[in-house]
């Protein structure tokens, strides 16, 4: 029998944590992601279905909706990303597709992305050095996608910090950029 062992986007066994004076950068692994895009003229239908399935209203442009353990954030016109704990939701895409039927296109995204959470007083200063997004004025729950170290990354304002969600295949580059900016600020 195969003994497969999962590794983090940075290639280690354990998620990485980097601590600076005013900033902590935490690699977040245990999240399941699924994208949900309405098919032609089906946006209202999938809003209803999503409410039934997730118990949350799909958010408006540039916003997110938080449930107890899961959330959804806006990624494009009539398109959202659903975020849940990975454990217990290994087949999230299948479940969402089953609920949506032909009204939406559903794509498994879990292993396509890496996520780094930034917390601390210096987080805005670090992000200002890395991207164009107005991170200081992003309200809690606000989300935007922007270019960070030549990578398209989601910037998601959480209660206590920012989640930076970038392409997993470039996780090391993104991490390097975050560390460099943090070192110059902290």
């Amino acid at each position: 029998m195969l003994k497969l062992k999962s590794i983090t986007p940075l290639g280690a066994d354990e998620a990485r944590v980097d601590r600076f004076t005013d900033l902590t950068i935490t690699e977040v692994t245990e999240r399941a992601l699924v994208s949900l895009t309405a098919r032609n003229d089906q946006a209202d239908a999938i809003r209803d279905k999503a409410r039934g399935l997730l118990g949350i209203d799909l958010p408006d442009i540039g916003d997110s909706a938080m449930g107890n353990t899961h959330s959804a954030f806006w990624i494009g016109p009539e398109s959202w990303m659903i975020d849940m704990p990975y454990s217990g939701n290994e087949y999230l895409a299948r479940r969402v597709k089953h609920a949506m039927g032909d009204s939406a296109s559903v794509v498994e995204q879990t292993d396509g992305w890496c996520r780094f959470d930034l917390e601390g007083a210096a987080m805005t200063s670090v992000l200002e050095r890395l991207c164009n997004a107005d991170s200081a004025n992003l309200a809690e729950g606000g989300v935007t996608r922007t270019q960070l170290h030549h990578l398209g990354c989601f910037l998601w304002r959480q209660k206590d910090g920012f989640a930076v969600i970038g392409p997993r295949s470039s996780a090391a580059s993104l991490h390097h950029a975050l560390l460099q900016a943090a070192q110059s600020v902290c």
Binding site: N40, I61, I75, N132, R145, T146, Q147
Partner: protein, 95 residues
């Protein structure tokens, strides 16, 4: 250059990629009359105006929507930005 995205507001042009003339929306019907002639014109014949130009931009590292941007090729002044989807629908293309 700043592009005023209809949904997201002012965004730097480095977040976008440029495709070309907005007439590329009008892809010919391959089952229509004289498709090879129509596709030849579609692929190779472009206007190259010095002045106002409607063009397609893709918000690649943003929300990945296609935009129709009206830009002055002499001054780079952008006078109008619309979602390509809205433009296509207005022209009767519901699909």
């Amino acid at each position: 250059m700043i592009i005023n995205h209809p949904l997201l507001g002012a965004r730097d042009a480095q977040e976008f990629t440029y495709l070309g003339d907005a007439s590329l929306i009008h892809r010919p019907d391959w089952q229509g009359e004289d498709p090879s002639g129509q596709f030849h014109d579609y692929l190779y014949l472009r206007d190259n105006p010095a002045g106002q130009h409607r063009e397609l931009w893709f918000h690649e590292v943003g929300d990945r929507s296609w935009l129709v941007v009206t830009r002055n090729t002499l001054t780079h002044e952008i006078t109008n930005v619309e979602l390509a989807r809205d433009v296509a629908r207005r022209e009767g293309r519901g699909k």
